[in-house]
Symmetry: D2
Subunit: 380 residues, 4 copies
Amino acid sequence: MTEQNKRECVGIGLIGAGFMGRCHANAFTSVSGLFDLPVTPDKQVLADHSADVAASGARALGFARSTDDWRALVADAAVDIVAITAPNVLHEPMALAAIAAGKTVYCEKPLSTTAESALKMTLAAEAAGAVTCVGFNFLRNPMVHLARDIIASGEIGEVTGFRGRHAENYMADPMAPHSFRTDPQGGGAVADIGSHIISMARFLLGPIDEVNADCRTLYPRRPVKPGSLDTKPVEVDDMTHALLRFSSGVSGSLEANWAATGRTMDLSFEVTGSKGAVAFTQERMNELQLYGGSGKQAGFRRIESGPLHPPYGRFCPAPGHHLGFNDLKVIEVADLLIAHTEGGRCYPDFREAWQVQCVVEAMQASSKERCWLKVDGAAS
Amino acid sequence: MTEQNKRECVGIGLIGAGFMGRCHANAFTSVSGLFDLPVTPDKQVLADHSADVAASGARALGFARSTDDWRALVADAAVDIVAITAPNVLHEPMALAAIAAGKTVYCEKPLSTTAESALKMTLAAEAAGAVTCVGFNFLRNPMVHLARDIIASGEIGEVTGFRGRHAENYMADPMAPHSFRTDPQGGGAVADIGSHIISMARFLLGPIDEVNADCRTLYPRRPVKPGSLDTKPVEVDDMTHALLRFSSGVSGSLEANWAATGRTMDLSFEVTGSKGAVAFTQERMNELQLYGGSGKQAGFRRIESGPLHPPYGRFCPAPGHHLGFNDLKVIEVADLLIAHTEGGRCYPDFREAWQVQCVVEAMQASSKERCWLKVDGAAS
Amino acid sequence: MTEQNKRECVGIGLIGAGFMGRCHANAFTSVSGLFDLPVTPDKQVLADHSADVAASGARALGFARSTDDWRALVADAAVDIVAITAPNVLHEPMALAAIAAGKTVYCEKPLSTTAESALKMTLAAEAAGAVTCVGFNFLRNPMVHLARDIIASGEIGEVTGFRGRHAENYMADPMAPHSFRTDPQGGGAVADIGSHIISMARFLLGPIDEVNADCRTLYPRRPVKPGSLDTKPVEVDDMTHALLRFSSGVSGSLEANWAATGRTMDLSFEVTGSKGAVAFTQERMNELQLYGGSGKQAGFRRIESGPLHPPYGRFCPAPGHHLGFNDLKVIEVADLLIAHTEGGRCYPDFREAWQVQCVVEAMQASSKERCWLKVDGAAS
Amino acid sequence: MTEQNKRECVGIGLIGAGFMGRCHANAFTSVSGLFDLPVTPDKQVLADHSADVAASGARALGFARSTDDWRALVADAAVDIVAITAPNVLHEPMALAAIAAGKTVYCEKPLSTTAESALKMTLAAEAAGAVTCVGFNFLRNPMVHLARDIIASGEIGEVTGFRGRHAENYMADPMAPHSFRTDPQGGGAVADIGSHIISMARFLLGPIDEVNADCRTLYPRRPVKPGSLDTKPVEVDDMTHALLRFSSGVSGSLEANWAATGRTMDLSFEVTGSKGAVAFTQERMNELQLYGGSGKQAGFRRIESGPLHPPYGRFCPAPGHHLGFNDLKVIEVADLLIAHTEGGRCYPDFREAWQVQCVVEAMQASSKERCWLKVDGAAS
């Protein structure tokens, strides 16, 4: 038998052992067996504000060490990439420290709690030449890339309209209590999930120049905690409808809604052109609807994901075997590792995430002022 | 054998022998065999601006007489109901004359070219005690009635959001020429088909109080006529996206789009409540999606039209036999004949159609002023 | 005003005033307004075994006379076409009398209760040169014609497989009582609705040469009448699954099921070829799924019915306005009137209906003998 | 920082470095981060008939050692579980050797090339008390378990019918060349993918007692290798349609088809009961259709997978995040590791796989003899 040599390793430091931290860890675990990467991620350190959670998480997820001090993780010489899945308010100090320490930074969305903070992080990263990546994982779907390629190719003609939505139901119950989600710093539905459809709109059609939004708080008070009879006011939106103007001149609309009873993941869009259209919903994430054909055979074609839609083939050589959500995170991590190794720009990086945040804030301001507002930084 | 006696007859005078005129005529022809009505429509007179078209139309459609003078039709003592399918700009004089002559008036949508005109017609009808009906035929769909009943029953809880659309593709081709549709008096897409989704929104959720719209002309010039190289400017919208506030406090959005490549009849809505949701599209007009259930069996249920959804059973005693568009017009005519006979109010009548027009005009003004606008007459 | 002249009329005599009789009558009423036919149907006589039902039906449906003696109807000189919607056991004497009287015969499916009887009727009609038509209405759907045209054109390559079904739920309740449906002469599910998918299979792919079926009675006893506690044995099948070999060599399978809980009209097929496939279900009767495209854009395209799919345009000049079941019957009646006038063969005629019945009986015999059986008359 | 201790490890030996081997390896890699298992798989040895492939595969997939001698792997003391993804003809000697060596055996489907061989393997495993598992991965789908639970609970009443299919298109091209798939030992479509729908039918409804099948070779000759002009006869089926009788008395039908142009993974079923029905297709693997409700709200409900459908929650705590194919393999591996540790029976084990193979062979024999055949071992 032959003993295997270790390939070149990239040390991973992960901050946060919750759902998203686990999701990151599993993606780093799986990626080498699926992608033919120049490097191998090496799970070095897991940090959590609870030392016990960090320790048990490290055991379960295969990290070599654990800590309750994220600064120690950032300072650790064995850590090359810092992955941040901590509460949003901590993203800025963590990312700035990691950038200062010369690390690549992989941060969950939203990049920060304000566009100002996100811009500060972006400028720091760019000044340091740091590779950055933000976890808008739904952009990794091969069917979304297919949609973008079809649009960019001119196949559907001149784009004339956009209709987008991200609707889920996790806050649909009026008795759903306050949590980090309803913290004003979280930004409400428009920030929490609106950012996904905004990032997708930008990915497909470029910058959004102007917005006109109606942010609504559906339930003005919610219980202070699960099961509590005490309630307190809600300061963020549950549902936002917005009109959009893209820099290209295309107009459209968008909805962000975390109280959309019946919807589990209606992250959906329909992009209409003069000759065709593409439609997608994450509820059927392995399908893209493409309108085409002519005469008596025109119609929407349901295209199923398969090996012709890279990097689907990394997961399975045959069509019909569908990707799942966690696979999107693996693709994201693969892209990150390549950018880290080759030094290129990873999409979406801090700058892109800052611009998404500018759109979110423009929507919030537009709703307050009840008028159209230009998006800061749209042209940058 | 037994000779059949004639039942009590209602004389029909139809103005206009085009597509919609024919559709009216066929509905009057069919209705007695399907509905058990107190009266029988008797097709007396068909008017068209062309005497030849009127004559051949009368032969084909079974009218006793024809004329090229609609005033003669209105004055005809044998005519009890005047059905108007003439160009929109003529609706007002025709309806006013018919009302003055003591007739019931059945008018195609839009009621008129301006809300001011529509109000004048409404007030005249109400002063005369005339029965009126406007052809928003899609409201006749049993599945739409089921949706309204479900919402009204409280089954989906407190309504929290509305998302509506009427998208078709008949003007999607940039080379589609000018026609009556692009006449500024026609009002563009927001009036032509936006009025359908507005009437449906009102039917389901009540008055719309405030709007904020973005009306767009996608192709600034179109050929002056089919195949022409000469073009002239387009003054109406091809696509409108709008934010809505209902009088009930519910908010939402709406799209009207006659350049929606790929869409043939996406007259659709999703009404979300705190406990459930209903979704519909006219592209699958015999189905309603209802979200409900609990725990591991929650989901959207696809309800198919059947005899339990009146008046489906008038058309077929068994489920699965689907209604078509022309059947909706038959239902409309049945409702009209009952209102004519019993003297009640027919829904939607002139007043309702005027209020729809107020919403259309508020959207157009809102788009020009780029701000939220109150809808005139919303509370009336 | 101009008085209209009557066009050349064809006298209609209709036997049976139940659901299907009413459906025929309404189709005769509507057809002239929709199709540009050389003749106009003139509803002369309605017969029913109850004189009262016949009389009230004639009033409601617009027949000039009524009778409780179908022989009088057949003998009536004013009747040119005899439409038969009476119980199946009476089809033979009625049709033979009508043929003998020189009439065109329009008979509901099944043509008769046995293939032997159906053949007798076929031979009589052919000897007399009578125009005949049998009411397999689902064949009139423009989307089914589109499917056949696509198959015939070779677009999906060499046909390799067929999968068909007609599933409804009207006998799904074990307490659904005996009725004419469970009469052994009715032939059970395989005859009642299996005949529809058999006729469609033949329409699409030609004769069926050999069958191997499993006819099952799901509920061996049913109440003797609605609500009764008395039960008696059921002698017919509720559900049949069958293997098929077409004369062309294509093989496949078929299900007929009237106890298919959840299915209202799953009259569906998937025809697979070496290069493409078409799929259809009557539950979405205005859509056809066509597999095509290549590379990363291959998929099933959802084609919606529209004016490019004749005779849809007879009902509406724009797509998206969907046909309903009753429209299919109007198309059938239009085809019948043309064949009657021009003297051509109407499809499906008595011969075709006899051949369908041969397939049904071969399935029943095959199930009893538990083996493959050749279909009588398949090659004729 | 805290150094992590290794948990109790289970040594994995994997034979085969192709698609399915890689899929196994990745599942072993991922499972510990997702499931809270009593043991941790430790990837010890990867064997392939090519030493180079084995060595590079071991590097890529994280195995400690590699070999081109599967007997060495089986004999390796560090190996506790032998995973077999080698060609089918080798399954028997490999499994027997592993059983003799006291290992747990995890074998890809089909268990072997004949039912006789599969029975031999089964008896050997049972005699040795070996834990065994066969890779019918589609059974791991939470939505399939939900279907089974619903059926077992009686919610859909007495089961009355089954309609199943596994249709893909990988051999639809007549020019698709011979390969291991068309080797008579492979058993053709009925064995290759028919086995999946057979295993699912058994999982849902219990043993299949009798079959009546029509196995067809659509293209009698295929190229000897890719691009070759030389062809040779095909001895296996491309498409099989079969009638089924379950031991419970339920009847139904089934199709296996690897030339189903347009279908990528139509592993689908509809199970009909006296009160409801469930329908599923792997093409939308995160959805189950359940018919229920009553009166005007009856219909098929689309249930989406979520944390209430274990073990979905292992992959994501929120609904709408969809599982993919590779996740099913992770679930399979988790079940295997639990059975290995706790010593229980894993489903489906060798005995179950043998019984599936008995159904396949009964179908093949039935087709040759053109009659119904009892399934050997159905009752065992």
